[in-house]
């Protein structure tokens, strides 16, 4: 479920200086392109101003002489003026083409910047996520994280490409028009501007109200959707307890309150657009009345009046758009807040500032009074565990669910750090080594085999990119995976899709063993699982593969197979986060304690199955 949860409901303010500054940091590397883009934008805005100006020249120079009722120029003049008109028209067309080119270039450049910024942001966020501890990923739903790197970043693109630049362009157009109008005839311009205070008042009132309205719509929509999602998930409960009417009534209330907010916002918008249009018309009326008088008194020309009217009309378009931009800004702010929240997530499991290089690893492992609890857990997972494993020893961990077996592996690979005590590899605390170094020497085979998109070969090579195809093949052969891999269409080059859909559980496990063997670590941690869906032949293969992989290494296995515990050099019996018993299989059985009970619960049936 990735729809509407917790911080997906962040609404965002339209403008947040802190966030904007932080976003601008990502734009800075591209400041040169941004500068070019702005230059083209200014050119484009300037070409927008040309139209009315050319109309004015055309009217005053070529048209007006013919309409005073006195065709003084005669047919000859007429022809010359028509040619003049054609010339002006051609110039106009040229300017339009230039404007077209400038606008296209500008949009391309800005798109490029937007895309690059998104790419940088995505990669940076991804790299940060790679550094976060395994605990973070159990806490955060994967779907939500995916949304962060995909959709939320996309929302920012709109801010960069249409938001900021368009606002800049609108402002440039406004300034340009103002300047030209004043320059042509400042009295006329001022007459037209008499409506501006009203425009400002209307816009300001609208902006204030629309902010409230937007917020009301967003919060009520979020509330409604949260209710809907929850009640879809709990629909059976509602039905079983005959509460359909009650929850429908609650839904109806939320729905109506959203409708009210929507209507409110509609009324607000519906007033704004016509109001701005009306003010525009009033401006034109004022111009006509005042400017008309000026023309009659020959203070100014008809061409100037017509051009001023045209400019005045264009003045109002950018103002109308501002409201849309406002919404884009708001959405982008909300997204960036969510993005930065992920970026600010502290890296809890960190490499030390000066990591120690492990000596030639022999594989001696020691836990010294280790206490460990998972985040947000009420109880300790490990309570003061101490043990030592000598190089080359094969140790099996046995225990009831929640006894702390997995926690031991999690600490040794440093997916988590313990609250107390130390975990040592060859006498070095794992916290003093870089994680990369540590994990090169400590391999892990998980019960839930994770295959990546790619070929079989690349999956086996995962931990050791330098391996040749031949070495990959040899690893597969040694664990007995070679035969079925060869049978795949494409063999080692077969593409694995959707985490190895099409492969059986047993085959996936064999690939995982080949992968571990290829990585060749000194210490190997294995979560083995006696999978019921594996046929006897594959089971034999897996057992053989496991023996092959473990040979000559220190190993800790969370044992679910009878054969594993029987062959272990030593068994640690965990109970509620402590080591309750330890020893070899037969000795432990004779003690008739926890191990004996566990054995009867978990393994006896396998023995019976094997025997029968």
């Amino acid at each position: 479920m990735s729809v509407m949860v917790d911080d997906d409901q962040i609404l965002g303010r339209a403008y947040d200086a802190r966030l904007i500054r932080r976003l601008l940091r990502y734009v800075r590397p591209y400041h040169r392109i941004v500068a070019w883009s702005i230059a083209f934008l200014l050119i484009a805005s300037a070409t927008d101003l040309a139209g009315p100006w050319l109309y004015r020249i055309a009217i005053d120079r070529y048209i007006a002489p013919h309409i005073a009722g006195a065709p003084a120029a005669g047919a000859l003049g007429q022809a010359a003026d028509v040619r003049g008109l054609a010339g002006i028209a051609a110039l106009y067309l040229a300017i339009l083409c230039a404007g077209f080119a400038a606008r296209w270039l500008q949009s391309n450049l800005m798109q490029y910047v937007g895309q690059r910024v998104m790419a940088d942001l995505r990669v940076q966020m991804f790299e940060h996520l790679q550094a976060l501890s395994a605990g973070f990923f159990t806490r955060e739903p994967v779907g939500r994280l995916v949304t962060r790197v995909t959709n939320d970043v996309d929302a920012l693109n709109e801010l960069i490409t249409s938001g900021v630049v368009a606002i800049f362009g609108d402002i440039a157009t406004l300034v340009g028009i103002t300047v030209v109008m004043l320059w042509m005839n400042w009295q006329l311009a001022l007459a037209a501007f008499t409506v501006l205070p009203l425009v400002y008042a209307v816009t300001d009132r609208f902006r204030l109200r629309s902010r409230g309205a937007y917020r009301a719509v967003r919060t009520r929509l979020a509330r409604l959707n949260a209710f809907l999602a929850e009640h879809l998930m709990g629909m059976t409960v509602t039905q079983l307890f005959n509460q359909e009417r009650r929850s429908r009534r609650r839904f109806g209330e939320l729905n109506t309150s959203l409708l009210d907010a929507n209507l409110n916002s509609t009324w607000n918008f519906s007033q704004f657009y016509p109001a701005i249009q009306l003010l525009g018309a009033v401006g034109v009326a004022v111009l006509l009345w005042y400017g008309g008088g000026q023309v009659v008194r020959h203070v100014t020309t008809l061409g100037v009046l017509v051009a001023t009217i045209q400019y005045a009309e264009r003045f109002f378009d950018p103002l109308r758009d501002l409201s849309d931009k406002f919404n884009i800004l708001q959405a982008a702010m909300a997204s960036s807040e969510r993005i930065f929240r992920v970026m600010d997530e502290p890296v809890t499991v960190q490499d030390p500032p000066r990591p120690v290089a492990l000596p030639t690893v022999r594989g001696r492992i020691e836990f010294r009074d280790v206490w460990f609890a998972y985040e947000n857990d009420e109880t300790w997972a490990l309570r003061g565990i101490s043990f030592t494993i000598e190089p080359g020893q094969a140790v099996a961990l046995v225990g009831h669910t929640g006894a702390g077996k997995t926690s031991i592996l999690n600490l040794l690979t440093r997916f988590y750090d313990p609250q107390r005590g130390r975990v040592l590899v060859d006498g070095v605390d794992v916290r003093e080594v870089s994680q990369r170094e540590l994990r090169r020497h400590i391999g892990l085979v998980l019960q839930d085999v994770f295959l990546f998109a790619g070929t079989v070969e690349s999956n086996i090579r995962l931990g050791n990119p330098g391996l040749t195809t031949e070495e990959v093949r040899r690893a597969a052969e040694r664990v007995g995976a070679h035969r079925f891999i060869e049978a795949l269409p494409g063999g080692y080059a077969a593409e694995l899709r959707e985490r190895g859909a099409g492969l059986s559980v047993g085959q996936k496990q064999l690939i995982a063993f080949a992968r571990a063997l290829a990585a060749n670590p000194e210490v190997l941690l294995v979560l083995d699982e006696a999978t019921s869906s594996v046929d006897t032949e594959t089971e034999t293969l897996i057992r053989h593969a496991m023996a092959t992989v473990l040979r000559g290494r220190t190993s800790i296995t969370i044992a679910h197979r009878l054969s594993t515990i029987q062959h272990a050099d030593r068994i640690l019996v965990l109970h509620r986060g402590r080591i309750a018993e330890e020893g070899r299989h037969q000795d432990l059985l004779r003690r008739n304690g926890i191990y004996a009970k566990l054995y009867r619960l978990q393994f006896e049936e396998q023995e019976r199955g094997a025997a029968g």
Binding site: V3, V149, V284, W289, L305, A373, T413, R439, I594
Partner: protein, 606 residues
């Protein structure tokens, strides 16, 4: 738009649409008259007339604009508001429809999918009903009116314009196809990026275990670069669209200046008429642009309505019969008669027959996947059997009214589902009159909610909450522990005072001690009722009147505890294993541990 449902909603707000369209027609008329006044004014100026006449025309212009603004306002508020009302109705009907869907439907359909329809599709339909229907009509009127008015001024100029302006629509359609194609590529690459991220985050342990962070980042970088590439391909075409439209509109303006100017010079047209014409030109350009955009709205709206109709067309699998019998005074006798259940063709229960007389407590045991939950879910009709019948008080449950059947039953599932509401609301959910009857009385007598809470051993926990039963439990009850959640769900069933109580592994997260106390309390409650209990703990099972052992969807054994144990079959094995498990759990860890973990459990926040 073929969806009947869509037009039914529109029909419902017919009045608003008609008023809106009438207002729209008036507004267009005003918009067409304004340039005419402007022309009169310019021609007057040109003739040297000023003062009174000019002031009158300026006044007329203002009045026209005022009328246009008012009508536009009416149009927008009528039609857009109607669209929001349609959205609201549609959402309400959608929810009401989903309420009638069976449990199997929700298991098959991801909530995310249903949510996507509720959020995105309903919005797309609203946009079609609002902006779409409004602009479709307005644009058409505007188009026809503008051309007609242009014609009265100059046929020649109008023909010129009709030659140039449709280029906009053609451009929209032509580029539109290419944009669409490239947009699909962007979407595909976007999906690939999502998949890569998804894969990495789900497999983060393997990534870390094999120290693959750097190479994973490099692969992600490749995906990101690819998306930049396809996006730029899209941007190059998309970036042409608006500037090109601007160019075409500009071209029309150029032709007007050139051709129209020549007409004025030649005396066939006045300057005022030229200006007037330029205004019609502006009013014609917008509809041309809007056409492409409106087409888009229609396409999206239609696709979304189709997706909604898909859901609306599904009839509920479990529903009231045509002539439902009301179960007015339920006794609580349950009978399964040769019941076979299959989900998606895979059989889960085979030919199960079982009679449970009223007032008995029956325990159902068996391994995971043996069909225990499926069996008990048949009683409140969470689904129906494919063969055989389930009877309550001698009535096939399929002949009973669903509401009256379920009113007689309380089922507590293992996965306790609480709503993000107060504990009080969550518990009183079990009973229609509990919302009021259950309020804590001022004279100190425990209300129904508190009484049910006491049976479920919730009292001590609730005392620790800042707002007692008024404490909000957080999204799906996350602020409570698993055991607290299960006990709250149990209280919800107790308050219901049902004839048939079904506990489907309902106390799995409750510790043994608390379970024992709950069962003691429940015994009084259960004595007179029919109870079906799925449980693991020995003590719970042993006390049942009758025990049914399921294996692979069939009844393997049944009888009393002693008889089954003596028989030494499957029950005896299960029993022995469970005893072992409980012994292991009981084995106490040594004492002397330090304080609780640094982030020990907190009291739920209000």
């Amino acid at each position: 738009m073929r969806s009947q449902r869509f037009w039914q909603y529109v029909q419902r707000y017919r009045r608003a649409y008609l008023i809106g369209y009438a207002a729209s027609a008036v507004a267009v008329a005003m918009a067409q008259l304004a340039p005419w006044v402007l022309r009169a004014a310019i021609d007057a100026i040109q003739r040297g007339q000023a003062g009174g006449r000019l002031a009158g025309l300026a006044g007329a212009l203002t009045l026209l604009a005022l009328a246009e603004a008012t009508m536009t306002y009416v149009m927008r508020t009528q039609i857009l508001a109607a669209a929001y009302r349609i959205e609201s109705d549609l959402r309400h009907d959608y929810f009401a429809h989903l309420q009638r869907m069976s449990m199997r439907f929700f298991q098959r359909t991801p909530v995310g999918d249903l949510m996507a329809r509720a959020v995105n599709d309903i919005r797309a339909v609203q946009r079609l009903a609002g902006v779409g229907l409004m602009r479709s009509v307005q644009t058409t009127i505007m188009l026809v009116a503008s051309v007609a008015f242009m014609m009265t001024l100059s046929v020649r100029l109008t023909l010129w314009m009709l030659l140039v302006l449709p280029l906009i629509t053609l451009l929209f359609l032509g580029l539109g196809r290419e944009i669409h194609r490239r947009f699909d590529q962007v979407q595909a690459q976007f999906a690939s990026l999502s998949t890569r991220a998804q894969e990495n985050f789900s497999g983060i342990r393997v990534v870390k275990a094999f120290a693959q962070e750097a190479s994973e980042s490099a692969r992600f970088q490749m995906e990101v670069d690819a998306i930049v590439r396809v996006n730029m391909r899209l941007a190059r075409v998309q970036g042409v669209l608006w500037p090109a439209i601007g160019l075409i509109v500009g071209l029309a303006s150029v032709i007007l200046l050139w051709q129209g100017g020549a007409l004025v010079v030649g005396g066939q047209l006045t300057l005022g008429q030229l200006v007037q014409f330029s205004y019609y030109l502006a009013r014609l350009s917008f509809p041309m642009i809007a056409l492409g955009w409106i087409t888009n709205l229609w396409q999206q709206g239609r696709a979304s309505m189709l997706r909604l109709d898909e859901i609306f067309r599904i009839t509920p699998e479990v529903r009231d019969p045509a002539d439902p019998i009301a179960l007015t005074a339920p006794r609580g006798e349950i009978e399964f008669r040769n019941v076979t259940v299959a989900f998606d063709g895979a059989p889960v229960l085979h030919d199960v027959s079982l009679l449970i007389p009223e007032g008995r407590t029956v325990a159902i045991v068996g391994a995971t996947g043996s069909g225990k939950s499926t069996l008990v879910g048949l009683v409140p009709r969470l689904y129906d059997p494919v063969q055989g019948e389930v009877l309550v008080d001698g009535h096939d449950v399929r002949t009973l009214s669903l509401a009256s059947l379920r009113r007689a039953i309380a089922l507590v599932p293992q996965e306790a589902f609480l709503f993000s509401d107060t504990l009080h609301e969550n518990i009183s959910l079990g009973r229609d009159d509990a919302a009021t009857a259950g309020a804590p009385n001022e004279d100190g007598a425990p209300g129904l909610v508190a009484a049910a809470g006491a049976v479920s051993q919730l009292t001590a926990d609730v005392e620790g909450f800042p707002l007692k039963y008024a404490t909000v439990v957080g999204e799906r009850g996350v602020t409570l522990s698993g055991g607290q959640r299960q006990r709250a769900a149990l209280a919800r069933a107790v308050i219901r005072d049902p004839r048939i109580l079904i506990l489907d592994d309902a106390l799995s997260s409750v510790d043994t001690d608390t379970e024992r106390r709950i069962l003691e309390q429940l015994r009084a409650v259960m004595a007179s009722r029919t109870c079906l209990i799925i449980a693991h703990r020995v003590s719970t099972i042993r006390d049942a009147d009758w025990i049914v052992v399921l294996r692979d969807g069939r009844i393997a054994e049944q009888g009393t505890h002693d008889a089954l144990l003596a028989a030494g079959g499957l029950y005896a094995t299960l029993y022995e294993q469970q005893l072992l498990r409980e012994e292991l759990e009981a084995a106490d860890p040594e004492a002397n541990e330090p304080e609780a973990p640094p982030h020990a459990a907190e009291v739920p926040r209000a």
